[in-house]
C-alpha cells in the first residue's frame, strides 16, 4: 500500500464514528482481560487502563475529542438506560432494604452533605476556581446524573464527567483497605459507603467482593443520585456557595 492510500483510509476513518466506537470497545476488552489476568489488581481497574490507552491514542494520532466522541457517544448514551435499569436491583433488594431503611437513609443524607461540602471546601481552601469547585461538587454521582447536576449549578459537565470517573476509581482502589483499617466487616455497610462515594465503578468493584455488597452499592448509587439531584442545588444556594 502506498502512502497516499493509507492517507485516504485514515481520512475516511477519522471522519467516521466507526473508529471511535471500535477503539473504545477494543481498549476496554483488552483492559478487562489485563485486569482479570492481574488477579483483579485494583490499580489495573479497566477504566483506568482503557482511558489512559485511549487518551494516548488520541494524542498520538492528533485526533480531537469531538471526533472520537462521534463514535464513543453510542457507548456513553447507554448510561441513561443503565440509570433507569438501577430500578431492578432496587426492586429486588427492596425487602432487605425495608429492614435497614433508617440507617441507609441517615447514612446517605449525611454522605451527600459531607461529599458535596468537603469537595467544595477543600478545593476552595486550595485556591481552585469557582467553576472547578462546582464541577467537583457532584463528583460522587454516577456520570449522566452528575453531568446534569453540574450543568444546573454552573460547573462544567464534561469536567465533572471526568472527575466522576476518577472519584469512582479512587474509591474502588482504596475502599477495601479503608474498610479494613476502620474495622468494618459488614458487607451491607461497605456496599452503602462504596456506592455512595464511587457510584458505578465502585459498584462494579463491590460485586467482586460479594453479591450483597454489590446490591447495596447499587442501591446507594441509585438513591444518592436521587438525593444529590434533589438537594445539591438547594444546599449550595442556602449556604451561599452559589451567589
Amino acid at each position: 500500500m502506498t502512502e497516499p492510500d493509507l492517507n485516504r483510509i485514515w481520512v475516511y476513518l477519522s471522519a467516521s464514528p466507526l473508529l471511535g466506537l471500535t477503539m473504545t470497545l477494543v481498549a476496554y476488552s483488552l483492559a478487562h482481560r489485563l485486569y482479570l489476568r492481574s488477579g483483579l489488581n485494583p490499580l489495573l481497574n479497566p477504566v483506568v487502563t482503557s482511558v489512559t490507552a485511549l487518551i494516548l491514542f488520541l494524542l498520538a494520532t492528533d485526533t480531537s475529542y469531538d471526533d472520537y466522541f462521534d463514535g464513543a457517544q453510542f457507548v456513553h448514551f447507554l448510561l441513561g438506560p443503565a440509570t433507569v435499569a438501577l430500578a431492578i436491583p432496587l426492586y429486588q433488594q427492596f425487602n432487605k432494604l425495608k429492614q435497614v431503611w433508617l440507617p441507609v437513609t441517615v447514612a446517605l443524607v449525611t454522605g451527600v452533605v459531607v461529599g458535596a461540602f468537603s469537595s467544595v471546601a477543600i478545593a476552595r481552601l486550595l485556591g481552585a476556581s469557582l467553576e472547578t469547585q462546582l464541577s467537583l461538587a457532584p463528583k460522587s454521582v454516577t456520570a449522566p446524573v452528575g453531568m446534569a447536576i453540574s450543568e444546573q449549578i454552573g460547573g462544567l459537565p464534561s469536567l465533572t464527567a471526568a472527575l466522576v470517573v476518577v472519584t469512582g476509581i479512587i474509591g474502588a482502589v482504596i475502599g477495601s483497605k479503608l474498610f479494613d483499617l476502620m474495622g468494618i466487616r459488614d458487607d451491607s455497610v461497605k456496599g452503602i459507603a462504596m456506592g455512595m462515594t464511587s457510584h458505578g465503578i465502585g459498584t462494579a468493584r463491590a460485586f467482586q467482593v460479594s453479591a450483597q455488597m454489590g446490591a447495596f452499592s447499587g442501591l446507594a448509587m441509585a438513591l444518592s443520585a436521587f438525593l444529590y439531584s434533589v438537594f445539591l442545588p438547594w444546599l449550595l444556594s442556602i449556604t451561599g456557595v452559589l451567589g
Binding site: P81, I88, L108, M196
Partner: protein, 122 residues
C-alpha cells in the same frame, strides 16, 4: 427478543422521565425520574421485572465500560488540570476518603442504635 424488549422498555421509561421532568419543571435529571417511575411500576406489577432483567443485567454488568468515553474527556481539560492539578487531586483524594469513611461510620452507628431498640430481633 427479550433483550430488545427490555432495552425498549428502559428507553420508554427514560423518555417518559425526560418528558415529565421538563413538563413539571422538576429539579431531577430525566434518567433518575425514569428510574423512579420504573421502580413504582415494579412495586405495582412485579412480574414486569422479568421482562427488563436481561437488558438490565447486560447494562449493569458492564457499567464501567459506559464510563470510558466520559473519562477520555479529561483530554479536553488538560489546560485546567495543568493549572489546578493540586487542588483537584487533593480534593478528589481527601473528599473521597472522608465521604466513604463518614458514610460507613454513620450507617454502622445508626444500625447499632436501631438494633438496640429492638432487642427481640437478636
Amino acid at each position: 427478543m427479550q433483550l430488545i424488549n427490555g432495552i425498549t422498555l428502559l428507553l420508554i421509561y427514560q423518555l417518559a422521565g425526560e418528558v415529565s421532568v421538563r413538563l413539571l419543571g422538576l429539579p431531577v435529571p430525566g434518567p433518575v425520574m425514569g428510574m423512579v417511575m420504573l421502580f413504582i411500576t415494579l412495586m405495582i406489577r412485579g412480574q414486569m421485572a422479568k421482562a427488563v432483567e436481561p437488558a438490565s443485567t447486560a447494562l449493569l454488568g458492564h457499567l464501567s465500560l459506559l464510563f470510558v468515553p466520559a473519562g477520555v474527556g479529561l483530554i479536553v481539560h488538560f489546560n485546567r488540570l495543568g493549572n489546578e492539578w493540586l487542588p483537584i487531586s487533593v480534593t478528589l483524594l481527601l473528599s473521597t476518603i472522608i465521604t466513604m469513611a463518614v458514610t460507613a461510620l454513620v450507617m454502622q452507628w445508626v444500625t447499632r442504635l436501631t438494633a438496640r431498640r429492638e432487642p427481640n430481633h437478636d
